[in-house]
Symmetry: C2
Subunit: 290 residues, 2 copies
Amino acid sequence: VRPSRELARSPTSQSPCADSYALKPIGIFDSGVGGLTVLKALRARLPHEDLLYFGDTARVPYGNKAPATIERYACNIARYLEDADCKAIVIACNTASAFALDAVRRTVSVPVVDVIGPVAARVADSPDNQTIAVIGTRGTVRSGAYVRSIERQRQGRRVIQQACPLFVPLAEEGWTSGPIAEAIAEKYLQPLFASEPVGHLILGCTHYPLLEQVIRSTADRYARGVQIHDSAGYTAAAIEELLEAGGLSGPRDRVGSSRFVVTDDPSAFLGVGAAFLGEPIDSAEHVDVR
Amino acid sequence: VRPSRELARSPTSQSPCADSYALKPIGIFDSGVGGLTVLKALRARLPHEDLLYFGDTARVPYGNKAPATIERYACNIARYLEDADCKAIVIACNTASAFALDAVRRTVSVPVVDVIGPVAARVADSPDNQTIAVIGTRGTVRSGAYVRSIERQRQGRRVIQQACPLFVPLAEEGWTSGPIAEAIAEKYLQPLFASEPVGHLILGCTHYPLLEQVIRSTADRYARGVQIHDSAGYTAAAIEELLEAGGLSGPRDRVGSSRFVVTDDPSAFLGVGAAFLGEPIDSAEHVDVR
């Protein structure tokens, strides 16, 4: 992998605190808006940290692209975030986490956290030993990344999977409740829960937290008591530990900022992004990539 | 626009009939599988012609990309098809038709037909003068290409539009009938038909013919007698006229072939493509593009 250096330098490198590690931002990237659910969790857990979000909206979605292409895109973006002075990087995209984590870690010198490892490790370790169900895009399910990650943590732990391709467009259309969302959730989840008793359900896509309510009510009908795990919270916890361990945490007596850069026209991002973040996004900058 | 020449030369240039215009193939391109509904119409109308289909599956979808990017991709592909000895080119993608028709025509020297012009011209000319409704992706609706094309043909003809973003994933998931398809069609179309009497409905996306039955039954509930127009048939008719006029038609006493090239892994294309074509696709070749 030879990530290019074509991306523009970020203006944050002019920040007056550029030489203080603790005050550097955390970089978060995704193919589009989905990673904003991870940014939201980071804000809630680390409100004192500055965050720089990179949405690769000109090249979204990653899910149907070749692994080598995803690796190239991800390394390219990670290099941009490192150049923008980020002290740590979060791969807030399941497809990029599945295919590009190792390559990104080889590419940059700052610590990197993905969205699959933290939730997989914690759920794999749950003492009940019940079956874990994973739902995600077709690409994430095919990659087998959750299965491998859980197996690495706890050999023999049973994992079943279900791709739910309509959940992403449904969330982006804003139809997160009502009869259509319920019927689609029913169609995907009923066969999953009917196959065997399930104790845990991992939302293996950053879009799915928007559908959590309808997923929960459907799950409750077929697998009462199933625990639903959203990777955002686990990822935020992993970043916090990592910053603490490395002495990289910012001072807790300040309020952090959030900046957004995207590779396509920012206006569409602002509209859909607000639904994912749960509050308006004032502005996003456009970054040109080839 | 400076389309690159990076694409590989096609093996069809080795055909023994390469010097006979009449036996050269017709090139058809789309961002993915949707254009196969146009290929199907071409096959039905011109069964004696050879067809070369180019699906840009590594860069699908075009709908959310910047116009300049779509222009570059489309010109690149058109150049590939011209190099592969095609005698005419069909832009079988509504987004590329909306943003890149003029650029493609400037780029290649063979005749080019798009999927918007032919249907828009014919429906605009319908003598009843009733309102025309257009449904499509968000990108196509925003581009205003149908509205402009109809206006050019018949000034003052009333056109209304509705974006139906979930129709494409629905068609690709294969859920083309049943309660979910019905509920989604109802949600998009009821407000469209409730606003005013509508005489014509244009399916402004090559995916939508797969949903024609559910669209028709919904339309019949709110706008009884509405005429549904699928651009594929009009486009095939336009290509036929153009070949006739230019003396480019192949002899009618032969059976034409179809070849498929795609920019991403061909296996996914074969599966979903078969549903769009209505029959199995034996093989597709991979073409590398950067």
